[in-house]
């Protein structure tokens, strides 16, 4: 068994943005916060490609390293999660993140930034605690990947998704001969 990962097949993503709205519908994310966003490179030219950009849940996550309040933490199953109560909204994680994943709702000018928000791999319910106050590690179910219209975005156990992707490629190779 591997850790939880996203795999993005850029030869299939058509920027239908279904991942963005699936995320918002199921997590109740407000306008202006995009836990996942599809970006297009070379728009309108040969070589145009779309890439969904969620949080990539790094193994050695820079955001976890720099977080001054230990808001961000790494779970055993690979999910980089966060505890809302501890966040002071400093934005240091955004500086450290190589992908621009952390989001800050609330907006406004100086000092009104909200608490950090990011992709939680759809751990449902989020930040659930048992009677002793210990965090329950609920199973992650990434809605963006499950709803992906063309199956470009695969999400879940890395062993499983790499197998799915290899089958796709192998299908092509076997057919070419």
């Amino acid at each position: 068994m591997g850790v939880n990962k996203f795999l993005i097949d850029h030869t299939r993503c058509i920027r239908c943005t279904g991942c963005e709205t699936a995320c918002k519908t199921n997590n109740g994310v407000p306008t202006g916060v995009r836990r996942i966003r599809v970006v297009t490179v070379n728009e309108g030219k040969v070589g145009e490609r779309n890439i969904a950009m969620p949080c990539f849940h790094c193994y050695d996550a820079p955001c976890v390293k720099v977080c001054p309040t230990r808001t961000l933490y790494k779970r055993g199953d690979g999910v980089v999660n966060h505890t809302k109560e501890k966040c002071i909204g400093c934005g240091y994680c955004l500086v450290a993140c190589p992908f621009g994943a952390p989001q800050f709702p609330g907006g406004g000018i100086f000092g009104t930034r909200g608490k950090m928000d990011k992709c939680s791999f759809c751990v449902q319910p989020f930040n659930q605690k048992d009677e002793q106050g210990n965090m329950i590690e609920n199973e992650p179910i990434p809605m963006c990947a499950r709803f992906c219209s063309t199956k470009a975005l695969l999400g879940g156990d890395s062993t499983e998704i790499s197998k799915q992707f290899r089958e796709r490629i192998a299908g092509f190779i076997s057919f070419s001969f």
Binding site: C16, T17, T21, T25, V29, K84, K151
Partner: protein, 931 residues
Amino acid sequence: MGTAFRDIKISRRGFIKASAALGAATALGSYAGSKNFNPAEIFGTAQATPATTVEKIKSICSFCAVGCGYVGVVEDGVFTKMEPWEDHPINQGGMCCKGTSLVDVTNSPRRLRYPMEKSGGKWNRISWEDALDKVGGKLKGYRDNGEPDSVFMCGLVHGSNEEAFMFRKFAMLYGTNNIDHQARLCHSTTVAGLLASFGHGAMTNSVEMLTQSKIFFFMGSNAAEAHPVLMQKVFEARDKGARLIVADPRFTRTAAFSDMFMRFRPGTDIALLLGIINVLVEHDWIDHDTVDYRTYGFEQLKEVVKEYTPEVVEDITWVPAFDIREAARLMSDNAPGAVIWSMGATQHSVGTYIIRAFAILATILGWQGREWGGGCIPIRVHDNVQGATDMCVLSHFLPGYYGVSSASSWEYWAKVFSETTSTSGNISASTLASRYTTFTNKEGVETNLQLTPGLTVSNWYKGALMQPVSEIDQPTNVKMAMFWGESISSITEMKEQKKALEKLEMLVVVDPFPTAAAALPERSDGIILLPAATRQEGGGSVTNTGRAWQWREPLVAPLYESRTDMAIIKELAGRLDMGNHFDYDSYEAVTAEINLGSRAIGNQGETPERMKRQKEYAHLFDPKTGKAQGGPVDGEWWGLPWPCWTESHPGTPVLYSDLLPVSEGGHDFRGNRTYPTDEPNAGRPMLREDEPQYGTQHVPQYSENGVAYSMDLTGAIVAKALADGNPPTGRGKMRIRVFEQTDKIPIHREPIESPRPDLVDKYPTYPDQPHLYRIVNCEFETEQQRSIAEKRHEKFPIVLTSGRQVAHHGGGAQTRSSELLSEITPEVYVEINPHLAAGKDIREGDMVWVESARGKIKVRAKITERVNDQTAFVPFHWNGVFEGESYQDRWPENTAEVVVGDSVNIITSPGVDQVTQMQETKVALCNIYKA
């Protein structure tokens, strides 16, 4: 704002619950609290309570026609979340942004909450009884005065098959053919073109079967934006080596994935197709098995395409001759292939002929008629537009494609209405006929309006504005219009429409959202809005683009005071003394009547029980073919695609493929045509030739004692055909040459507004047509010559084309009312090539005027190489701004859309298709300058 998201989520649900409770309260007659609705208040006060009941209901998405399934999560009677339906054979759980926003759309606080009337310049709330009395009274008045043709009804493209059928039946019994729906603007030319060529006017494959294709030829379809989930099937085929060719005026998001892209001038589709056919014929890359035995008119086609050499076509279309040859080679090397099109090919003044050219291309390459995965793939646009077309909410057909011009169609349906056990009413054909009026037309000929096709969505405004008798074939003007889930911003000539809307005596809008029809006209009274339920609140069956029927259970009860379309039609029918024909006790009862009557296309097998059973056993269906293996649904095709001849028939996944026995889903070209008079064997039925390897196979369409299988209510003739191993439609020929149309073989004709006057001389459009869909003189040549005389090609040198955005749908009333979707695409824009923009000093983000001979719109400039320097593109989903001026204040309070924009259909071409009145939105001439 330090709220944790979990809290936001709960308060969101609380908000939804609160608004649903509000609906329940008002439905009971309490008016309190709903008038000045403040979402923020409810947001703040909502309490976090865990749901006591959680239901998960399988349903079908209500946007485009691919027919994706999803699982709706209903907590305490409120639709709160969605889960993927992962064993649904069409989408395997995948959905685009529109589908995954259904929760937001359904629970939108911008929905119409109760019936409203505009009087004295203000929107006033009225009761349902009052509203229905007013609408019903007005309808009754026109009928009792002997002028039922003063009414124009249109819509129900987003209803179920059952509601579409009821709506058509309502107009039939009321006494007018002035009924039409969005299919007129989507695929009416497809229906006409394919029906004339093959025998049925629908997509020839199921969606699942696309995975079997070896090459895709997208022409006039930007599936990546308009039908995203269909691309899943395309990519699955590509994983097995399938090629993609995209021909489009724009380098679309679909084109970005192509192996080959051909940019052609808008409106020159036929020239390009004939160029490809020319190369195929030249090299004899023809499937002779199909062409020699199963087609008519190939020799004449050879004569016509001789002229369209790649070099000639290059001059007309901009496509290099080399590319045309290369495309032909790719197509002949990879079979079977699918020709995929959508509005880019249909919305032309030559639309029907473009579709016929597609049919010819697919047939001579051998993609059509035998192989799976190939053929003609028109992708329909609304969730039930195929179903509403089959139920013929159209001014020239009765349900099931029985033509209005034939008296026997009316007799047949009168018999069905009487014999059905679903309703108590009885009616004779003569009583039905007596409700229609006759009048003497301009030439002094007496016309029976029962047998005359009515006004259409694309020309309804002419019915209101033009002079009766001298300009329109009606005794009266249209004085009342009903827009039932129909968006006027998708119809061209919006300026004329605005005038027509202002001239009407009464305007009725039945919709979950008020839509632009309610707000566009500057009138102070005479508008009635009826809040209809969304598709998540109504049930019935829906037909997807691949003719597959799927059953949709309501997820929740109608919110606020809204009512289902079925309930509204029943109430109106009761007020017109037709209630005994509409006393259905359930959706299933209506389906039974459709099963009884709609025989031409074989809707006998699509019973509610079978559809519900398929839903339960969806996991047994193979997503690569759509066929079930094992279980109680063994051997059935997903959705029982019509023709599904009997209750034990598995459905027909591939039309015209003779590979399978008919009892397992085989079919053949329709055998109901005869040879034309200019042929040596004139008058004889046109049937398949004998093929040595298949035995004798010429079979005419089945009939007994002069009664065709399609009019035999006992089903005995169909049973006989199936026992013989033949389709009841016989085994006929595909017609390359269609003798009843102006162009017997499709030829290139310049669009109504052409940037090339020199080519207009060589390839002029059609002569003007008399008496076409109630227009006394439908202008083609006159309009084209007017464009040249006014020198529009000099004043407006840029070719304007329109299209879709992934986050919006149709006229946008639903999607632009959703915050999720508005965030993704918040604005309307015009795509301009960098070279053109530089010459006009336009920069990214500038506001510009796009002007044509009809008017001008103010939109934002988007500089992109998607278009070349002679073309501009504007998406059409927008309204709320008219020629630069916002009219958001004319919407009822709290119902205006989140984002608004200027409508491109103010400036699109006035052209219409010569056969079906399809509007020509894809080619117009415009100019662009800084605002």
